[in-house]
Symmetry: C2
Subunit: 430 residues, 2 copies
Amino acid sequence: MIKKKINIAVVGLGQIGNYLLNELNTKKKDIELKTGKKIQIVAISAKNRNKKRRFNINKYIFYKNPLDIIKKKKIDILFEVIGQSDGISKKIVEAALKNKIHVITPNKALISKHGDYLSNLAEKNKVNLEFEAAVAGGIPILRTIKEGLATNKLNRVYGILNGTCNYILTEMEKTKDDFSSVLSKAQKLGYAEPGNPKLDLNGYDAFAKIRILSSLAFNKRISKQKCIMEGIENIEYKDIEISSQLNFRIKLLGITELINGKLFERVHPALVKKDSYIGNVNGVMNAVIVEGKPVGESVLQGEGAGAGATSSALMSDLLSILRGNIKFPFGIPNFKRKKPKLYNDNNSSNSLYLRLEVRDKSGVLSGITKLLADNRISIQRVIQIPNHKKKSASIIIITHKAIEFRSNKLINSFRKNKNILKKPVLIRLF
Amino acid sequence: MIKKKINIAVVGLGQIGNYLLNELNTKKKDIELKTGKKIQIVAISAKNRNKKRRFNINKYIFYKNPLDIIKKKKIDILFEVIGQSDGISKKIVEAALKNKIHVITPNKALISKHGDYLSNLAEKNKVNLEFEAAVAGGIPILRTIKEGLATNKLNRVYGILNGTCNYILTEMEKTKDDFSSVLSKAQKLGYAEPGNPKLDLNGYDAFAKIRILSSLAFNKRISKQKCIMEGIENIEYKDIEISSQLNFRIKLLGITELINGKLFERVHPALVKKDSYIGNVNGVMNAVIVEGKPVGESVLQGEGAGAGATSSALMSDLLSILRGNIKFPFGIPNFKRKKPKLYNDNNSSNSLYLRLEVRDKSGVLSGITKLLADNRISIQRVIQIPNHKKKSASIIIITHKAIEFRSNKLINSFRKNKNILKKPVLIRLF
């Protein structure tokens, strides 16, 4: 890319695309200062040309079908900000790379599903595929792993990767409101998708980010295996309150690590100590903790979502390309990225927080503790809170470390116990 | 740098140089995988060839005078790990750059003093001058500012930048020991220089880092102006204890910000809230907080010192060069970096923590409060702790915001007051 004038296309003009366009327009001079290149936006595309937007768009460079841009215009760099895991998002990225156009995208769904294929395509065509914005926008974590910590041997990366969930959990603790009313508040404030927040809440979004992080941290292909993926949809205020009394907070964690060289990825809510670092990352903040040698533990915290943080990451990708840093999208050549060996998550172990709603009559507790003993899970602490009105009681148990397959068996045996009135609650401790 | 074999020289074989050599030797394959380049160490230099070292050195490539390396060998990349602000450190870096050799250094003293000149030399000779390791080794903060947050408009960068001081303050709080005994412990553990820890303790080390950060964050030349620079040598356990009762911790902070476009840099101990993020960065940890638009607040935390963290940063610089990322050392071309306009620190304002040891007799407190009133400094809180044995008392005052030049006048008037028995203690609140 020796030439000085760079043609840019932006595909997708939702909240992020719109903010990005404005950034590109207002920072042209700064970009030229830092890279020596003059950028010009020569094509934009969105589903609806006439939708009301925060910034005005130039209708003379508008394309209804983004694929036409590649046929009709000479583009150097294309931003894909639609956000689908397949469909038009995949088609436009494919078409761009095949036509030797650099691609920048915040699309974690696309990269976590098709990242291996697309990065291969980018390498073959000697262009960049950059996706810093796909994981924790305000935190340059991918660049930190690929460059800042390049020769460290990493063994674990974990953190709070979904700002929506973290906002909801923080707000529930603060306001004592239940999940659904805090969710609608989050939607009103623009922290959760108004239509379908499911992919945030069920852990899928954090999981897609974990897959990308694993693959960069451990230099492996993206895993396809099903793993522990639990969201926060079933967290009740009651559990937040009880956890708090026990000096814990509930956080949705994403964790990836190598256990004896085998990859173990998971996303689930977890009880973390109130006075721990991760226990104090609140609101829409994201945090990522990287453990490796020789660097030790590195912590990065910043806004995880929102158009501002995402644009900041998209612009850093742009500058990297304009500075001429042609790089392997996953840090090493694709053909060197081996399939990961996978850890059997049935063998993992955690202390557990269990909450059971039971009939308030004699013998119930002893029946339950027997089930734990049968499954060789030992108890650290038991609290029984009676609810005299309903003639029921809550039993809260904190266990010592229990192996995952035994915890599963335990939960199944709880389900058969007719003294347990509701679906048992299980949250792992971290 | 098209060629595949890269010749490396390491100048300085202290703790860091030694660790670095071992890293370079053990990570050759990983480096080739990530960059396609084969590195070989062809020259090393140190004051003493026969000193006992943790790793063996190859004596066949040893040079007593590092300047001979440049005359006698073909070098591509040189590591300067001696650490002087002038003298041989400056000479060898100058000679290398003039001979079109890339330079990597963790030397904050050199860069904060001669960075403008040396980066100009590097640009003229089209080679890199990299110094990621100069600021907070385990945190890739320079790369984050130059690349990850490249197009953000930053307005403030601050944090805990000296691991030795942070260790000492943390340890004093924990053990209730006094400054000098904790210092000798830190020296035994290798956290503080055994010979002369002065540059850590008096704030100079943190200040050199702040100067480098300012210059990157605000795209200006390195400031030469004298600023507020106070260390921790005079912190007594008593102040840590009283602060703790008031729910504060004492931390050595480095802060740089733009106030109406004017640069305000300073390093001093500060009372920070116990439940704040920065109040919980303990031990040898460093933390840097970057505030900007649109990214919001980004926080980075990691080990600040030690051979491991420093080597991690040195290696990231090496990979950056091997990947062919030729860049401006300070992010933008040197001729575009203007001299900063400077803020008059006499106009800055802070709430103050004051501790006065006074004669325990009537009228003393009213005399002191009158001095505050005379200087138009208003009081938020007063605590008087009598010491009956010595017929003296400690008066602790937390003030509302006071302008720096008035605080200075106040301290001078305290010195003339014969009821004040010792040098008054002043620590700013953050």
